[in-house]
């Protein structure tokens, strides 16, 4: 349990948010030309990092907007929060 600083609403309880998994997974530009291996990679394979991870969150019980977060998964410390479409901060 931790506090999340929503870029639109400010600091709120994590309970108001929904985790959306790994960030910056690009949807394939030509889905019809993808091999089964590439589909599996896109749909299922995840980095699942122990340490600093880039992920998406949704303020589900608030403004309902999506944003990105840089978080250390080994201790749940939030390193940075940035809006959708913005470039991830360099570490």
């Amino acid at each position: 349990m931790f506090l999340i600083n929503c870029p639109y609403c400010g600091e709120r309880d994590q309970q108001e948010f929904k985790a959306g998994g790994e960030a910056h997974i690009e949807r394939p530009k030509q889905p019809t030309e993808l091999s089964d291996d590439e589909w599996a990679e896109y749909l299922f394979m995840r980095k699942n990092i122990k340490g600093v991870q880039f992920e998406r969150w949704n303020h589900a019980h608030g403004c309902r907007k999506w944003f990105n977060m840089v978080r250390d998964t080994s201790n749940d410390e939030i390193k940075a929060i940035y809006k959708m479409g913005e470039k991830p901060p360099s570490q």
């Binding site: 599996a40 749909l43 394979m45 980095k47 699942n48 990092i49 992920e55 998964t73 749940d76």
Partner: protein, 417 residues
């Protein structure tokens, strides 16, 4: 040579004030080379080593554990054992384990306190009723004992459940698997460790894997905090940390690691003599031999390795438990903890070869791996020894995420993940 545990050894050691019991397993330094190395000294890893030695005559093997034996999820789960899974592949896998459980204490000469007290799953809405009836039929077609119970029969089997129709989550019925139950989780790890050690397996504790050395597409050994260990076969059974090990080998797995919480109450006299699981409200409860209520809560929805969960998860579970069992309203909780569980998109495990020769993964058990410990060890040992899966774990290969043959078992813990 291991001394056999028996009533006579108990009397003999009582006379010397229990000060001269033989060590249950040794604490060796790693050798330079092994035939195979198992990464992870939890129940599944130790069982794998035990069956590799026992059934496949591989005695020059080691188990490396970054902490101590049974200090991870083996000692953190709620010890429920059952095999009432919906799909054929899962039924085969989990019932194979349940059959081994039934004779495990005798086989290991170690009391794992396996207790077939029955597991009851409750239905709280019409969809639950349909799903559980369907699962009961599927179980029986697969030769697994299962019965569907009416609300009255649920009340008769476990009288402390509130079956009043006006509660938030009314009990509309349930299923019962009588062969299911619980076991003492620590004893399972200790029993397998003792059994494996007796057959010459080196159990190396406080030894963390730091890297996997490859030569092209084959495994050559592992780098550990106790030095390099040469081996051609590495079986990874690292639960929540599977992805961390996979990354060392340059592999990606379809896993997400999340905190799962459990808690126990203060000990009280026997009050609940079975295991009751409730899918829709995400609460399950049983009572340990010490008298504590053992309560399983849910997972958080974000990736975390912190072994801490969110408070609201526990609160939600306790709300549901108090509504179902008003008798517990003044119970105090003694301890609460979290474990990191590795969850697959289809909520089924992976027991598989990989694209790297000599590298095998046993992971993805998610929230319900304890019940499968003996079967998982047996089948993973077969996979490693023969470099081919057993027919019971063939469906649980890594390639199913490419081919699309998922074993979509969201009933894996009989809870919504």
């Amino acid at each position: 040579m291991r001394n056999k545990y028996s009533v006579f050894s108990l009397i003999k050691n009582a006379l010397s004030y229990h000060e001269n019991w033989q060590r249950a397993w040794n604490d060796p330094a790693p050798k330079k080379e092994y035939e195979a190395v198992i990464v992870g000294g939890g129940g599944h890893g130790l069982a794998t080593a035990y069956y590799l030695a026992k059934k496949h005559n591989m005695n020059n093997i080691a188990v490396v554990e970054k902490g101590w034996i049974g200090g991870g999820n083996t000692g953190r789960n709620t010890t429920i054992i059952r095999s009432n899974y919906l799909w054929d592949a899962s039924a085969g896998l989990y019932d194979h384990a349940l059959k081994i459980w039934e004779g495990l204490s005798q086989e290991l000469n170690y009391n794992v306190m396996f207790s077939q007290r029955g597991v009851m799953n409750l239905a709280h809405n019409l969809q639950d009723v349909r799903d559980l009836k369907r699962r009961t039929h599927a179980n029986r077609l697969n030769g697994i004992d299962a019965v569907y119970l009416s609300t009255e029969e649920v009340k008769k089997f476990c009288p402390i459940i509130n079956t009043s129709p006006d509660i938030r989550y009314p009990v509309l019925g349930g299923t019962l698997q009588r062969r299911a139950g619980t076991a003492r989780h620590d004893a399972v790890a200790w029993g397998y460790a003792r059994g494996a050690d007796a057959m010459g397996v080196d159990i190396i504790q406080n030894c963390e894997v730091k890297g996997i050395k490859r030569n092209g597409d084959s495994v050559e050994g592992i780098e550990t905090t106790k030095g390099f260990i040469k081996t051609k076969k590495v079986g990874v059974v690292a639960a929540g940390h599977s992805s961390v090990i996979a990354n060392m080998a340059g592999l990606r797995l379809p896993l997400e690691s999340k905190p799962l919480q459990a808690l126990v109450s203060e000990p009280v006299k026997p009050i609940i003599d079975t295991v009751v699981m409730s899918n829709a409200v995400h609460a399950y409860v049983s009572q340990s031999d010490k008298g504590e209520l053992v309560i399983g809560a849910g997972t958080d929805d974000y990736v975390s390795y912190s072994q801490k969960g969110s408070h609201q998860i526990v609160e939600g579970t306790l709300n549901a438990i108090l509504e179902l069992y008003p008798i517990f309203s003044r119970m105090r909780m003694l301890r609460q903890w979290g474990g990191i569980v590795d969850i697959c998109p289809d909520a089924s495990p992976i027991l598989s070869k990989t694209s790297i020769k000599g590298l095998y993964f046993n992971c993805g058990w998610g929230t319900g791996g304890f019940k499968a410990t003996p079967g998982s060890g047996d089948l993973f040992a077969h996979t490693i020894a023969n470099d081919e899966p057993h027919k019971l774990n063939a469906a649980f290969n890594l390639n199913r995420f490419v081919s699309g043959d998922l074993v979509d078992e969201h009933g894996a813990a009989a809870v919504a993940h």
